[in-house]
Structures are given as C-alpha cells and as structure tokens.
Symmetry: C2
Subunit: 199 residues, 2 copies
Amino acid sequence: MKKGRLIVISGPSGVGKGTVVRALLERDPQLRVSVSATTRPMRPNEIDGVHYYFISHEKFEEMIAQDLFLEHAQYVGNYYGTPEAPVDRMLEQGFDVILEIEVQGGLQVMKRRPDAISVFLVAPSFEVLAARLRGRGDTDEEKVLMRLQQARMEYLVASQYQYVVVNDRLEDAVSDVQAILRADAIKTEHQQHFLKEAL
Amino acid sequence: MKKGRLIVISGPSGVGKGTVVRALLERDPQLRVSVSATTRPMRPNEIDGVHYYFISHEKFEEMIAQDLFLEHAQYVGNYYGTPEAPVDRMLEQGFDVILEIEVQGGLQVMKRRPDAISVFLVAPSFEVLAARLRGRGDTDEEKVLMRLQQARMEYLVASQYQYVVVNDRLEDAVSDVQAILRADAIKTEHQQHFLKEAL
C-alpha cells in the first residue's frame, strides 16, 4: 500500500483553520486529522482522544525525553504536542494526515519531516482578519489587538511554508488545498515508477 | 495585470499530447497555445500562423542568430522552433501559454525560463503506448518500434520535468494539469503580497 502524506496546516487565530480542515475531511475519505496531546485540564465538553489526548505533566516530559513528539511547545504553563506514533500509524495505513498546528510546531515538523506538505492559511486582508476576530463575540479589543500582533509574527514565518492559501470563500480555500494534494502526488519525484519502466 | 505563466508539455509520440492540450484550452479561457515556426513546406490542409509559422531557411537562421527563439531544433533536414516574442506578448496580456514541444526543446525552455511549469505526459504503461501507436492506422511495425525506442530516451530525460501526468482517462489527465496550475499559483513565492501586509 502507498504511504499517506503529512500535511501541516497553520494560520493565524481567526482565519478559519478548523472550518477548512473539517470541510477537507468531509470531502476526502483518504484524509485524517492528528489529535494533539496536552497537559491542560480537560473541559466539560471535551473527549479524551478526540479533542486531545489528556496526559500528565510527568508523562509529557517523559515523552519529550524519549523524542516521541513530532512537535511540542509550552503555552500558558501547559504543554501541547503531536505524538508521532499515531500519525505514523495512519500514514502507514495509507491515509493523508493533517496536522492543524501553530507555526512554531509547523516549523518543527517541517524540519523533522522534510517531505511534509505545508500550507499557511491567510485571510484576504488584515482588515478582514480583524473583523473576523471582532465578530467572534469575543469583543475584548485588547485581546483582538494581541491576536493581530501575533498574526503579524506568524506571517513573517509563513514564507517557510510551501503554499499560502487565502481563506476568502471556504469552497475556494478547500479546492486550493485539494489541488495542492493532487499536484503533489504527480510531482516527478513521486512518479519515478512510470519513468523507470523505460529502462 | 498579472503576467501569465509558461507551461511546457512534452511526452512521447502517441501519448495524446494534442488531445490533452485541446481539452485544456476548451476548459480554461486564460490558456493559449504557442505556434511553432518551421522551414518545412506547408501541407495542403495547413494554415500559416495557425498550425505553424512557415518561414524560409534563411529567415530561420537569421532568427537563431538574433536569439529570437525560446527553443529550436533540426529534424529530418528542417528547422522547428518557438519564436519568443509572440509567447511573451500573450504572457504580458495575462494568458497562460502552453508550449507543446519535444523534450530537447522542453529542456532548452526550462533552462532559459526557470519559472516555466513543466509537465511530462506518460501512458499508463509502455504496453498501452505501443497499443496506441499500433492503433493509429500507421501499422508499419518498424516505425512503431522506432517510436517506442524514442519514447524510452524521452522518459530518461523526463525526470527533469516538474510533473509527470499519466494520460489514462483524458478527464483525469486534464484535471491533473489544472490542479498543477492551481497549486502553482498559490506557492508561497507567488503569494508574498499577502504575507507582506503584515509588515
């Protein structure tokens, strides 16, 4: 069986990463999404193994020491990371696996797995991004400005991603990612078996 | 206006390059195809400027001396080549321009225009390619074997193309090329204006 592909999807808070990823999963049965591990407490509406793998601080540090994460980071006193083993299991089964992660994690994955496909989602403009953040009901203007400042930092790192997809109309963004996956599969490096037949 | 893109499409005799290119032109109004120049005599069913620009041997060599070709080659005593000016005119007008050319010409174009998108068309297998060549009505077995031998040489060079598209079902091959064009447009290098907004 042909191994699946690792797909890193990042983008600023408010750009609609989750919506794009869900739409992709609905359209493509060969796609799976990775579940992150965290040390933060489980919230009432969350399910262990679905929203996150909820693990202890000690367990997380043990896994870091054993190099069992594709990427990990600390955020507001808690660890977040992507355990490598479940991802590799899905890839071996032939599924393409999406990692919906922050840019720090994205860069770690690209370094560790240079064959990963990397996509950075942007809003059509910063104005639109600001409007989306303000429209979330979270009307704390200071938080909005902090998120926009964070977005600026992320955009600077984004040039290390292979593709930049604009999330204006959801359908277009989803089709863009699907085109990326289709085109990647027929890159010459992945089609050598057709050329080798000539030998 | 945004400049168009140069697209090199090559592939062995019998693979169906012409059919794929015609189908692409029908589906995408932003696409144009380049017209080659040649010194061979015009045939009864051909139109100057449509099938080829028919020019004299002297004129062709003058154009070579002035470096006016994107690529050119000699074949059975005649010159064939792609004049650069009409292609650049279409690119400036925002059209994507397909060059349907042999691999020697394809390599020349890739060297001269490193931003060109290059696609090599293959048959699902050499058996299928042989069957297509035999099914053309041209049943001269020696010619078929010569074309297959030529195809083997071309496959060896094909690894220098960016993409290898299998022409099994026409619709799939056309969708593959369309995905290549869509994905190319959103490569990070072509989306810098979105990232620059953060500065």
